[in-house]
């Protein structure tokens, strides 16, 4: 019986992973992020979908937890502590505008739909956080890394990622049903942890790197993965959120060790994160999407406008031209992995109604597709518009 179960689990898992590979290929062919397709894949196979997977469920659950840890660990590895500090200094004003403009629509919609405090805080995060992964790729694909407005866009992303480190612990506390004081306490612990890690990383980053570093690939991988899961587990035990623990560890690892770590962990992250997106799709009932579709569309339209507004304002302060402002604004539109991480947390705690998952999925699908498209079409559109207004000759 046990052997039979194992066989079934392997077959299901294999089918899922192979299917993801095919979807990823489709995404690469049309030049988009695979995340929306993974979500759709999950929708098809999950509750109320075509086929239900049960044998591989336990593994996918744990794997998706590891996926979140790896997503945040690699995010942390991308930044050095000094980049975070200077990025923060340069972008705090734009960062605040970003928070206010883009979290508010999520909060309003959650409150209107009666999802309560937990739902409102979770939705705030979902609509606020842009996808640094998709955006960095789009900027590179469109050859905009040398443009004047690009540092502005990137420093807003840095600010967002740092806000995540303060936001996730609060969200976890609220979702767990802890009161205001307990929430404040976790936030305090988290902020303290961030400060300590930043100081350690700035002063003693090389010692942290030395501990995990190794010439041997196998030992290096084991030490990295082990320390990431340990830190994430401990952080989770003190209610600071596993993801934040991993993020902070990533920041503390620096220089060539960070580079080597990224290289060695990237395939693992892609695998586990893909399973995470699928699980989120799996646990969303496709039949719950149509009722929230209108709201998701509205939310998408509003936050596309507010994200463009944020980028426009920030780029204007940095002295960019009108086209530069438009490019900066549309670059920020894409949402992706972190919106789903937040929604995934909310769903896992069961503190939000079923429509929440449907709303988050639909919204991220829309924004993950709209972002890269908007970034590509804005300039030709603006040029066309200017020509029309001032006829040649």
């Amino acid at each position: 019986m046990v052997a039979h179960n194992t066989a079934l689990a392997l077959i299901q898992l294999g089918a899922v992973i192979f299917g993801l590979g095919l979807l990823g290929r489709v995404a690469a062919r049309i030049g988009m992020s695979p995340i929306p397709l993974y979500l759709i894949g999950g929708l098809i196979f999950g509750t109320g979908g075509l086929i239900e997977l049960q044998a591989a469920d336990d593994f996918i659950h744990l794997a998706s937890e590891i996926g979140v840890v790896l997503l945040l660990l690699l995010l942390g590895l991308e930044y050095s502590a000094s980049e975070l500090v200077t990025g923060m200094r340069r972008s705090w004003a734009a960062g605040l505008v970003d928070v206010v403009l883009n979290a508010t629509p999520g909060v309003v919609v959650a409150l209107v739909l009666g999802w309560g405090l937990a739902g409102a805080i979770a939705m705030a995060g979902v609509t606020y956080i842009s996808s640094s992964g998709i955006i960095a790729k789009v900027l590179n694909d469109l050859g905009r890394l040398g443009n004047r407005e690009t540092p502005t866009v990137l420093s807003i992303l840095v600010f967002e990622d740092l806000v995540m480190a303060g936001y996730l612990p609060v969200l976890t506390a609220v979702l767990a049903g802890a009161g205001f004081m307990a929430g404040m306490k976790t936030l305090g612990i988290a902020l303290l942890a961030i400060t300590v890690v930043l100081v350690i990383a700035l002063r003693y980053g090389r010692y942290v790197s030395m501990i995990v570093d190794s010439e041997d690939r196998e030992i290096f991988l084991l030490k990295l993965l082990g320390s990431a899961l340990l830190v994430a587990g401990v952080a989770s035990a003190v209610q600071v959120s596993a993801a934040v623990g991993a993020f902070l560890l990533g920041i503390a690892i620096s220089d060539s060790t960070a580079h080597a770590a990224t290289k060695i962990l990237e395939p693992l992250r892609d695998l586990f994160a893909a399973l995470f997106f699928v699980l989120f799709g799996l646990s969303t009932d496709p039949s719950s999407i149509p009722p929230v579709l209108g709201w998701a569309l509205l939310l998408a339209v509003v936050t596309i406008a507010t994200k463009i507004g944020t980028g426009w304002w920030a780029a204007k302060r940095a002295g960019a031209s009108r086209y530069g402002r438009a490019r900066a604004g549309t670059a920020l539109v894409a949402h992706g992995e972190f919106s789903i991480v937040i929604a995934g947390l909310a769903v896992a705690y069961g503190a939000v109604p079923d429509e929440f998952a449907a709303m988050a999925t639909t919204y991220v699908l829309l924004m993950a597709i709209a972002g890269p498209v908007a970034a590509r079409v804005v300039e030709p559109l603006l040029v066309w518009w200017d020509r029309k207004r001032v006829p040649a000759g």
């Binding site: 890394l145 990137l154 031209s321 086209y323």
Partner: protein
Amino acid sequence: MNVEVTPLPGIGVRKEFSVARGRRRIGIIDHKDGSIDLILSKSDNPDVTEQIPLSAHEAAVLANLLGAPQLVAQLREEHREFDGVTTRQLQIRKGSPFDGRPLRDTEMRTRTKTSIVAVMRAGNPIPSPGPEFLFTAGDLLIVVGTTQGLDAAAAILTDG
């Protein structure tokens, strides 16, 4: 020269400077993963850049192409204290009699008293080429000698 260094968090570092003639910026993006982009701002719009991804090898070749005249200038500078010795950059052109033949066939040292101190091939410097070194069209030769010797060397490389 004021090289502007801008950190691009999560991506790498951008290093660029303004070109004196023509309101343009030129520079590179040094990616964290080691790859390099050449960037050049567009002439009609200094905010937008052309981004040309280079492999490590291509970047090295470009650096050497830019560096070859530098090398000649440096050698010339070093030889200045020896009266009458100078350095020149000569090319094996298409149709040169030495295209595909070894260095020894030129009998350069005997005939002109000059010496070939380096060859730049496809942007890569090959120092002190031996007598069996095979020339190919496009090779840039860094040759040291007297002015008359260098003139003679240039004539030999073209006409044999």
